[in-house]
């Protein structure tokens, strides 16, 4: 067992964990952050994507102990006092989700993508989201949402800052 401290969505947690415990299981099973789902066991689907110290990571491919001392942001911590994050709003507006299972990961990956490219082209969005699979939407609306969300974030001066 290892003792770790990890901040999730602004709250610090101290947990005793087995070294093999996956971060996604720590989030889901131990601290109740079930907003981040699991879609595969090989790191291919991206459903479990979160921010780890400000960059996107697949939480099924990170051990909880590796997150010791880190800052984790999940989809549950995205909304601020003024309501939903622009990317959440854009997904809603553009009907970029159906069952919604891929959505938390997709939104986190999209926000991360904008850190490198605040105004991505359609192709850049498609390439940037290659590691996040959606079985419902066919991606057209997701691409539109990401570009719309990017526009909203640029207008709000909220992208590009690492």
């Amino acid at each position: 067992m290892a003792r770790i401290t990890v901040t999730v969505d602004g709250v610090a947690y101290q947990e005793e964990v087995e070294p093999r415990l996956l971060l996604v299981h720590l989030l889901r099973d131990r601290i109740g952050k079930t907003g981040t789902p699991i879609g595969c066991d090989t790191g291919n689907c991206g459903a479990c994507t979160i921010m780890l110290d400000g960059r996107s990571a697949k939480s099924c491919s990170v051990l909880a102990v590796q997150a010791d001392g880190a800052e984790v942001l999940t989809v549950e911590g995205l909304a601020g006092p003024d309501g939903w994050h622009p990317m959440q709003r854009a997904f809603h507006e553009e009907h970029a989700l159906q069952c919604g299972y891929c959505t938390p990961g997709m939104i986190m990956a999209a926000i991360d993508l904008l850190k490198d490219d605040p105004d991505p082209s359609e192709d850049a969005v498609r390439a940037g989201l290659e590691g996040n699979l959606c079985r419902c939407t066919g991606y057209s609306n997701i691409v539109r949402a990401v570009r719309g969300g990017a526009r909203a974030m640029r207008d709000a001066g909220a992208v590009g800052d690492r």
Binding site: G35, Q98, Y101, L129, T137
Partner: protein
């Protein structure tokens, strides 16, 4: 020509209504591009997936699964596993044999169909890789999976049965003692022999519908719980109502002591239209152990054991005149059942039986389907279920016929399709298509696609021998959906009806609760039903709440599959609203001291014609609640139920056009553009409809280009992970261009048709036709699916001789 103008006009109107976004006051909700109510919890992570559920004392289940395709189980020893820390129980199939019953098949398609016993956990023999042979129940999911290794199982290998044609040979090893032929089902209309005799053109092909893995993003999960008397099962299922009945029959738990809940469900596409071994076993385990149990599958487990789709061998031939007019069609189908017949396994290929003729007129049709057992995961419904296979065959054949005759593929279709004025049309397969306008949809698609310009570019590339060739694929389709008229299902020996139920409750404050028997898993029923109710009762969209997916709340239903929710379930909601309004009219008349017949209902108020006197429906709801002043003999309730059984199927149609660039040096295919013009009748929510089309396209394109479940020569599944079984990513797909024409259905008051499966059904042949079209000058006449670079390259080499 007039048709072209019509189509353009309709499409423009459609496009305009799409842009309107939020409805304006007084505007009807039905038809508005409302944003979905469901999204709030989904974009914020407040979703209730089955795997999220944690109950006090809950135990975790893990299964030992067969590593072999076919073997006799000679020994299972769980005792070492049982002693490990955290392990509460471990069972073999034999331990559960007396109580586990068998998994049901609801569709005995013929009287002599072979229906083998299907124990949820194998007892004597395993017949596909991944079949459960033992389970471990532990206090933690890691400990449960650790303990699997301590379970000892001895197998005596038996021969795998993999190839359908060989499986039917008399000397083939058998999957079941009764033999490998599950059933033979035939349909014939007209004189096929006469149609083929002396036909100027006969096109004969064999197509392989490869095996697919549905791959809903949410893996299956089950939680079962009991208080010692009654049971609650949470499951990631499309069919909580059907499941409850089936589980009651299978487990002996009385139906009224069993509640089934489908919480938020992360996609299904038919894969969660099933009664699974794990659902049955979870109930048995909670009954034995008295504690809540949970099982969540891993993706690799799911690829092995979620029912697969398609897997048919289609031998088809088409007879036509020299002018391209169709005379007859013969279809001889082998359908891989896998190792067992699950809920609707044998019925899936027969849903296609009625669709091989597509949108075309012909004199004769002959269909034979042989269901074949193999040592693979059973097949069952996957988006489209039988109809994509049929549509693929006829649409590929139409392109081949066009090539044979040197006609444009659109022209050959035009010469054969049912014209607008011929509806309602009784097809050679015995269905009556209610409405459609194939010319309008096609003309609109050609215009959006820029068909002539692309053909010109294709000719130029061919001319200059460009290594990257352009191919154009056409698919003009219809489908039967909206399952289904109960009588028709009965005549096909299906085990249940096809009605749907709804309840509408007016609350004292004028808000409305709707309970629907449809069970959504991503479609957006809460939004669409709210739109229907808002118009029917004249209440604000926001004032409607929709409950579903819990047999304790929604006691009656037939659930969601077969593009049936709107055309059957939505109609039930509408009918229930009609009843609410009629009850309210009686009470309003009493309050207004007027005759009920003198009241008109507009914008949520009952008005006495010719006077200003009016009562809103909310006022009537409150007066009904108070019940101080009701007409004599009138119950103080507006609440109403309706159970709707349709008279006919629903027949959406459309024209899809696909342009691909095929690199003849590498075999790589890239979709350059894709246009889908669908006609799904009137539309409740255009945003949701377009979303359904997009998602359907992605799955159909997935079959055409990427997806295939592969078993090796020993019968092991090779595609157990998402790295091996490739579903399309954003980078693999183009931006879709979609539009609609609207030919209202004549079979329901809203004029709506189903949409859930349309994109999947139409797109696979459009893409493959495009790939073949690109290579036709090189002598290629077919490329087997999925058209991977390797397969395309090989087809080019083989054609070159």
């Amino acid at each position: 020509m007039t048709e072209q103008i019509d189509a353009g006009m309709v499409a423009r109107q459609v496009a305009e209504s799409d842009e309107l976004g939020e409805p304006v006051p007084g505007r009807r909700e039905v038809g508005a591009a409302r944003r979905r109510k469901e999204d709030a919890r989904l974009v914020t992570g407040r979703t209730r997936w089955t795997d999220n559920i944690q109950l006090p004392g809950m135990l975790h289940v893990a299964f030992v699964r067969s590593p072999m395709a076919h073997a006799r189980i000679t020994r299972v020893d769980v005792s070492a596993a049982r002693r490990l820390p955290g392990v509460v129980a471990a069972f073999s199939g034999r331990d559960l044999a007396a109580e586990q019953g068998g998994l049901p098949c609801a569709w005995p398609v013929t009287e002599d169909m072979v229906l083998p016993d299907h124990p949820p956990m194998a007892v004597e023999e395993v017949r596909y890789p991944g079949e459960a042979v033992a389970c471990v129940v532990a206090t933690d999911r890691y400990l449960a999976s650790d303990a699997l290794e301590a379970v000892e199982v001895d197998y005596e290998p038996l021969p795998a049965v993999l190839d359908m044609t060989r499986a039917l040979a008399p000397d083939s090893p058998r999957v079941h003692p009764e033999g490998n032929r599950a059933f033979v089902w035939k349909f014939a209309a007209g004189d096929a022999d006469a149609a083929f005799r002396d036909a100027p053109v006969v096109v004969e092909r064999t197509f392989v519908q490869q095996r697919l893995i549905p791959t809903a993003m949410e893996p299956r999960a089950v939680v079962a719980q009991t208080d010692g008397d009654s049971f609650t099962l949470y499951s990631a299922t499309q069919i909580p109502h059907v499941l409850r009945v089936m589980l009651a029959i299978t487990t002996g738990i009385p139906e009224h002591k069993l509640r089934v809940i489908a919480p938020d469900v992360g996609g299904g596409f038919g894969s969660k239209l099933q009664v699974t071994a794990e659902e049955v076993l979870a109930l048995l385990l909670t009954r034995r152990l008295g504690r809540p149990v949970k099982w969540t599958e891993s993706r690799s487990e799911g690829n092995l054991t979620v029912h697969h789709g398609r897997d048919q061998l289609q031998r088809v031939s088409l007879a036509a005149g020299a002018d391209g007019r169709l005379r007859g069609l013969k279809v001889d189908l082998l359908a891989d059942m896998g190792a067992y017949l699950m809920l609707v396994t044998p019925g899936v290929p027969l849903l296609g039986a009625f669709m091989y003729n597509g949108i075309y007129k012909m004199d004769a049709y002959d269909f034979t389907c042989t269901g074949v057992f193999t040592t693979k995961m059973p097949t069952d419904a996957y988006r489209g279920a039988g109809r994509p296979e049929a549509t693929f065959a006829i649409e590929r054949l139409m392109d081949e016929l066009a090539a044979e005759l040197g006609l444009d593929p659109v022209e050959v279709r035009r010469r054969n399709w049912i014209a607008r004025e011929e509806f309602p049309y009784a097809t050679i397969a015995g269905l009556t298509y209610d409405s459609g306008d194939y010319a309008a949809a096609t003309d609109r698609a050609l215009e959006l696609f820029g068909y002539d310009a692309l053909r010109a570019e294709q000719a130029a590339r061919r001319e200059r021998g460009d290594p990257v060739q352009l191919g154009i694929g056409v698919s003009t389709f219809t489908e039967m959906c909206g399952l289904a008229p109960s009588r028709v299902l009965g005549s096909l020996s299906y085990g249940a009806g096809g009605w749907e139920h709804a309840s509408v409750r007016m609350l004292p404050t004028g808000k409305v609760e709707v309970v629907t028997g449809s069970s959504p898993h991503g479609q957006g029923h809460e939004t669409a039903w709210s739109q229907i109710v808002a118009d029917a009762l004249g209440v604000p969209f926001e004032d409607v709440a929709v409950a579903h997916g819990d047999t304790g709340v929604s006691h009656k239903g037939m659930d969601t599959y077969g593009s049936r929710s709107l055309v059957v379930g939505g109609m039930a909601v509408l009918r229930a609203c009609d009843k609410v309004r009629e009850k309210a009219r009686q009470i309003a008349a009493h309050l207004l001291e007027a005759a009920a017949d003198d009241l008109e209902f507009t914008e949520g108020s009952f008005r006495v014609r010719g006077t200003g006197a009016a009562r809103t429906i909310q006022e009537v709801a409150l007066a009904t609640f108070a019940a101080h002043d009701l007409p004599d003999g009138v119950e103080p309730s507006l609440d109403s139920d309706a159970t709707y059984d349709p008279d006919n199927f629903s027949y959406p149609h459309g024209t899809h056009l696909c342009a691909v660039e095929v690199d003849t040096e590498t075999g790589a295919t890239k979709i350059r553009s894709y246009v889908a013009v669908d006609d799904v009748g009137r539309v409740v929510n255009p945003t949701i409809v377009t979303g359904q089309v997009h998602g359907g396209l992605a799955q159909g394109i997935g079959q055409a280009l990427f997806e295939e479940a592969v078993y090796d020569a020993d019968g092991n599944l090779l595609t157990t992970t998402m790295a091996d079984y490739l579903i399309p990513s954003a980078a693999d797909l183009p931006e879709f261009v979609t539009d609609r024409t609207e030919t209202p259905a004549t079979t329901n008051p809203l004029g709506v048709k189903g949409v859930g499966e349309a994109g999947t059904i139409a797109s696979t042949p459009a893409v493959v036709n495009a790939v073949v079209d690109a290579l036709r000058p090189r002598g290629v006449t077919d490329v087997p699916m999925p058209c991977t670079p390797q397969r395309v390259w090989r087809a080019i080499q083989e054609a070159a001789g």
